[in-house]
């Protein structure tokens, strides 16, 4: 890819990873929209994990094996964001086969 695209990609990814790692541990822990409605309407307790989710590596965005909650959240954000980038990129690599048309000058 062109220098300009590579730079854009790195910067955007850095922002996403940075936020997921450093800002997510400080995110609000109040219940979110659906959870709050479920609490108020009395069906929150219906929620349950599927069998396969009980073996999920990082349930609730808590990186396994890390005691400190903030650190666990930050690590989950860090690895998760990079993983999603890799999956998205990999999927696109497989799917996209056309050459680019006119690119802006780097």
């Amino acid at each position: 890819m062109s220098t300009s695209t590579r730079l854009f990609t790195v910067l955007a990814l850095a922002v996403a990873v940075g936020l997921a790692t450093a800002a997510s541990p400080f995110a609000s822990s109040s219940p979110d929209g659906l959870e709050k409605v479920a609490q108020e309407e009395g069906f929150l307790q219906d929620g349950r994990l599927a069998g396969v989710q009980e073996k999920a590596p990082a349930p609730g965005y808590a990186f396994p094996g890390v005691q400190d909650e903030r650190l666990a959240t930050g690590l989950a954000g860090f690895t998760g964001t990079l993983l999603v980038f890799a999956v998205g990129y990999g999927l696109a690599r497989v799917v996209v086969r056309r050459p680019p048309r006119a690119e802006p000058a780097p």
Partner: protein
């Protein structure tokens, strides 16, 4: 939060799953036919942003928090159908790796947030582009409105599914969901506008749904149709 298992009954979850799978499959075909090389990193970046942004819960009124959805952002960057694909992939990873959203409920989550959110935002943007002047501020404002509507549509769909499952009565759950998401939607609009503005300022050719603003050609031809 994404809908966990246990909120929706099997028929509703299955129906939503079929609808979502169809839309995502179409998104995959559209991706094959219309994307070019520049879209490869953009799919990764958009996925990363759509994954990371919802981790940043912000407080809204009354002891509640909200988080952004990213469907409108994905739609404006990648076009609505490819956005469905990316959003569904992110939701799948969230459900399996982080137990965020149920497995049987994955179809419903993908439908509400990915398909309805992505296609809804895309439709609003496409329609708005036809009537609004082709200026950056008009476009960005339109994107903000589309973002808010996408959140509201997803919330309404969730309420309908909850009611159809007998989990909560429609008369209470619909206004409750719409009420809280009206506020969350404002946050979504603000973040989406900021993000799209940033991309337009640096690489407008990477914004598939942007109208011609005297800039190079976008990598997704089909979104301009």
């Amino acid at each position: 939060m994404h809908i966990p298992d246990g909120f929706l009954d099997a028929e509703v979850a299955a129906a939503a799953g079929v609808a979502a799978a169809g839309a995502v499959a179409y998104g995959l075909r559209r991706a094959e036919r219309t994307l070019d090389e520049r879209a490869v990193p953009m799919l990764g970046v958009t996925g990363a942003v759509v994954f990371a942004a919802p981790m940043l819960n912000f407080p809204v009124a009354g002891g509640t928090s909200g988080h952004v959805l990213g469907a409108a952002l994905a739609a404006v960057l990648l076009g609505p159908w490819v956005a469905c694909l990316v959003l569904a992939v992110v939701l799948g990873l969230q459900a399996f790796l982080f137990a965020d959203g149920g497995i049987t409920a994955l179809g419903a989550n993908a439908l509400n947030m990915g398909v309805i959110g992505g296609l809804g935002a895309g439709a609003v943007i496409a329609a708005g582009r036809r009537v609004l002047p082709a200026t950056q501020s008009a476009f960005v404002g339109l994107v903000g409105i589309a973002a808010w509507l996408a959140v509201m549509a997803g919330a309404a769909a969730t309420a309908l599914q909850l009611a159809a499952s007998g989990t909560a009565p429609l008369g209470t759950v619909m206004p409750a969901m719409l009420g809280v998401h009206a506020l969350i939607g404002v946050g979504e609009a603000v973040v989406t506008v900021a993000a799209v503005s940033a991309v337009l300022a640096s690489r407008p050719d990477l914004v598939a749904m942007a109208p011609p603003l005297a800039q190079p050609v976008s990598p997704n031809r089909a979104a301009e149709a």
